[in-house]
């Protein structure tokens, strides 16, 4: 008979994050880079994508959990932090942020901004910034920069290391552009009152 026993542990740091937007915006890869950076800091991580028929143009989301302890459910209905990149995702996830939690949204295509007063709402004009930087593919890294600015879950250097780990070698020339986008995201995010 083989068995493992686990004693009860006190709750330590756990951050439950949903990142949601259109397929093709880099939602899943942004979540992966965040998870990889946390992994390199010795954290427990889980990354659970929506894997329906949603492809480019449809909605896509990923739940990323970062914790000091063993992660329980990889699928959740309440989040500490929501990163919202389109209107359908805002409609779906605004009410799922825990009171006192954080909501970050990209204003592009958002007709009805978030209404919640019991959470910290941040706006990041990542789409506009990406266009200004002539780096449309840097969109998700701008958002990630904004996220780790307001929720310092991982060190910036580790995000860059995670990029190196997750990008295929043939794309490593793009790392400086991504790093620039990440740092720009930290500058352009702002708190909405």
């Amino acid at each position: 008979m083989n068995q493992a026993n686990h004693s009860q542990r006190n709750t330590i740091m756990t951050e439950e994050i949903i990142i949601a937007g259109f397929g093709g915006q880099g939602v899943l890869s942004m979540g992966k880079i965040l998870a990889y950076a946390a992994l390199m800091e010795g954290k427990e991580v889980s990354w659970m994508p929506s894997y329906g028929p949603e492809q480019r143009g449809g909605t896509a989301n990923v739940t990323v959990i970062i914790s000091d302890q063993r992660i329980s459910s990889p699928i959740l209905s309440r989040y500490d932090t929501a990163v919202i990149l389109n209107q359908p995702s805002l409609d779906r996830f605004e009410s799922c942020v825990k009171p006192g939690g954080t909501l970050i949204y990209d204003s592009y295509g958002i007709l009805e901004p978030p209404q919640r007063k019991d959470i910290a709402v941040y706006r990041i004009d990542a789409m506009d910034t990406a266009v200004e930087m002539h780096n449309p593919k840097g969109f998700n890294m701008i958002v990630l920069g904004g996220l780790i600015k307001v929720r310092p879950l991982v060190e910036t250097e580790n995000v860059i290391l995670a990029l190196k780990k997750t990008l295929p070698e043939r794309h490593h020339a793009l790392i400086p552009m991504n790093e620039e986008a990440l740092r720009r995201g930290m500058e352009v995010i702002r708190r909405m009152e």
Binding site: Q3, W47, M48, G52, S72
Partner: protein, 361 residues
């Protein structure tokens, strides 16, 4: 351990990497969501250039399982993977393997049914997996991973058990564990067995008949009923031995539990969060997670049923494992089920609500 050794990957990818590392001789499969990354990863890794492992996309699931049968008959570590509708197609091959006492690994990354159903996660193949699934009196050894790490670890374990008992083994996973990424430390490399090692360790293997022994014949067919009954008695004795020796489970916070959740695989992960929510409200809940679904941890559940006042079977299906729990509990305490179907996944909050309902009752 070097941090470099800790990787982030999907459960399906972990299965593929673990297969290469544990000396798997052949993978035969046919793509289907949500398990296609197994074949994709193997194709990218090209193990035929390193370990010599064969990777083949077969023309169908029927072909895949019969290739596993053939390789198993030759004493090779062979496997296939699929998702629910594909595994339904394989049942004929699996019962033939059980009848001919051939080893082999089947990975089922379950999706919702019945029929073609949905590509979203489900645990609705529990009965099919634990009752044999095909015709005849037989059982398959069923392991239920609840993490990406266990996806990696159970490949070698399944092969070991499968060869030890000359019986097909199954890893019963689902779209959640298959698609999610987590930390994983891959098992150390183990070389594929040489022909000499197979001859020594598997004297039954069909390796080409030397002059000094009778041929090794593998078949599930025997038209002599008396002999066929003897074969069945032998199989049943083997299954009893497996039940006696190979039950595996995990207990979480059971010591002071007044209520128990029994859940396997991804549902056990959801249960852990439910337990956290309940304990924050002063309800003492514990988890019994069967790791082997067959053989089932009947004795441990029976023991716990004398300690707790209610049991909730949390399954992502209409209620299948609850039958095994009730057989173990023998009416001592109420056993209720909570689950979702068709690819919907229960949230920890709704499970906590369901549990509170049963506690009030």
């Amino acid at each position: 351990m070097e941090k470099e050794d800790i990787l982030l990957m999907k459960g399906n990818e972990a299965i593929a990497h673990a297969a290469i590392r544990c000396g798997c001789d052949g993978y035969f499969g046919y793509p289907i969501t949500p398990q296609s990354e197994v074949l994709e990863t193997l194709t990218l890794e090209k193990p035929w250039e390193t370990t010599g492992m064969v990777v083949l996309q077969a023309e169908s699931e029927l072909a895949s399982i019969n290739m596993v049968y053939g390789a198993g008959a030759a004493g090779k570590r062979a496997m296939t993977s699929s998702s629910s509708p594909g595994v339904a197609l394989m049942q004929e091959g699996i019962t033939y393997m059980a009848g001919a006492e051939l080893p082999g690994l089947i990975v089922n990354v379950q999706r919702g049914g019945p029929g073609l159903g949905t590509i979203q996660p489900s645990q609705s193949d529990y009965m099919q997996a634990t009752r044999g699934g095909g015709n005849g009196d037989y059982n398959v050894i069923v392991l239920a991973p609840a993490s990406v790490q266990e996806m990696a670890d159970f490949v070698d374990l399944a092969f070991e058990l499968s060869f030890k008992y000359r019986n097909p083994a199954m890893i019963l996973s689902d779209g959640i564990i298959g698609q999610m990424m987590e930390k994983v430390v891959l098992p150390p490399f183990k070389p594929r067995r040489t022909e000499e090692e197979i001859t020594r360790e598997c004297p039954w293997a069909a390796m080409g008949k030397p002059k000094n022994r009778r041929p090794n014949i593998h078949t599930s067919l025997d038209l002599d009923s008396a002999r066929m009954e003897e074969t069945n008695r032998h199989l049943q004795a083997k299954y009893q031995e497996i039940k006696n020796k190979e039950v595996r489970y995990e207990k979480v916070m059971c010591d002071d539990a007044e209520h128990l959740i029994v859940a396997f695989g991804s549902a056990a992960r959801i249960a852990l969060k439910t337990i956290e929510l309940c304990r924050n409200q002063g309800i003492k809940v514990g988890l019994l997670r069967p790791i082997t679904l067959w053989p089932f941890p009947t004795e441990e559940i029976a023991r716990l049923s004398k300690q707790v006042s209610s049991i909730l079977s949390l399954e992502i299906n209409a209620g299948q494992m609850i039958e095994d729990i009730r057989l173990a509990v023998e009416g001592r305490v109420p056993v209720n089920h909570y689950g979702r179907m068709g690819g919907m996944v229960p949230t920890p909050e709704e499970v906590a609500e369901a549990l509170k309902q049963t506690v009030i009752k």
